[in-house]
Symmetry: C2
Subunit: 212 residues, 2 copies
């Protein structure tokens, strides 16, 4: 069975879990918690040298990190990673946009607001610095989704999974989706797909404590 290191509060972990939900792939989960600093420990760096969740272990023992790479690996050969070269590039365009321009503003502000009990002056500056960047990232998504059902092509892909995770909880980072109806309809479309489940719902057949 597949093994996943991560927790139920991480959007990056959720991306992998949601694709596996779509694909009907069962997994066991080893609970690794950012708020306890576990990803940065030597024990976890022995699994994934960059010290970040998610990481996955295949049945043959190989380990893969980076949510975007994991999504592409498991979607390869399915419609969620299209066969057309231009559509592949468009999928990656959205996924790199998410990791570089969306997540560092929206997910980081959510993390600072939700999980950091005593924010420093630097944290407060980061919140202010990130906010307009997150707004702009949401505007870029809205410009696409105002007139299209999906980010790429005519059906859902791993680009939609990659953007869904933290867009869905953007309000926890202080971002308002109400003035962006295209995003709102797209969120509902994602949530109507077979295999969908919300981020904090457990889907592992077994949960182990870290390290295990």
């Amino acid at each position: 069975m597949l093994t996943l290191w991560g927790n139920l509060e991480s959007g990056n972990v959720y991306k992998v879990r949601l694709l596996w939900g779509w694909l009907g792939l069962p997994h066991r989960r080893i609970d690794v918690d950012q708020t306890r600093g576990e990803p940065a420990t030597p024990a976890f760096r022995a699994v994934n040298p960059i010290g970040k969740v998610p990481a996955v272990r295949l049945e043959d023992g190989r380990v893969l990190g980076e949510s975007g790479a994991i999504l592409q690996f498991f979607a390869n050969g399915t419609p969620y990673w299209p066969a057309d070269p231009w559509e592949q590039a468009e999928v990656l365009r959205w996924m790199f946009f998410e990791q570089y321009s969306h997540e560092p503003a929206i997910a980081v502000n959510r993390y600072l607001r939700r999980f950091v009990a005593e924010r420093s002056a630097f944290d407060e500056e980061r919140l202010r610095h990130n906010h307009p960047r997150g707004e702009r990232a949401l505007d870029v998504m809205e410009a696409r989704l105002a007139g299209h059902d999906w980010l790429v092509g005519e059906g859902p892909t791993i680009a939609d999974i990659a953007l869904y995770a933290y867009t869905r909880v953007a309000d926890e980072g202080g971002f308002d989706l109400a003035p962006r109806p295209g995003i709102g309809r797209w969120l509902a479309r994602m949530e109507a797909l077979p295999g969908y489940f919300p981020m904090r719902q457990e889907t592992a057949v077994e949960v182990l404590e870290f390290p295990s």
Copy 2:
């Protein structure tokens, strides 16, 4: 002919130029300069809504953004984007690592130190915040390159291009590569490949002013 929006100081633009050098693809360049704020202008956002260089226009008029997506599109069907699914995932793992854990520390500190004339207190805090993150990213690279010639498999891929660009100028961000001999040998290996040229060398057959 291919059109590229960007400048000679951007590592993200260099990645695309270097792959095109390897592939022998000629291009014209429209000079878009971050230090003049041009990527964020409405004129450039009409080309690339996220307001960042590089962007490229194919001969049929289609436009693509995000260096990682552009690299994958042009490498598709060449050895620089391997056919093996596991190696594809490993290439993307390094490329997402670069955009999420390497570039935001190393390239941002280079930008703050080299191109921001009057740094604010917040900029100084960012430099301090980013420095250990960049060191760690370089350590992750060194762990691989101490024992392997290339980041993935037995030959150069777009993962090597993606990591080369800002690693090569990491010293401008305050990072010391001397204690990392694996990275040093890999840089030399990259620079010995046919089609190689340094970042600031002009390779466009024509350069136009922005907007054009």
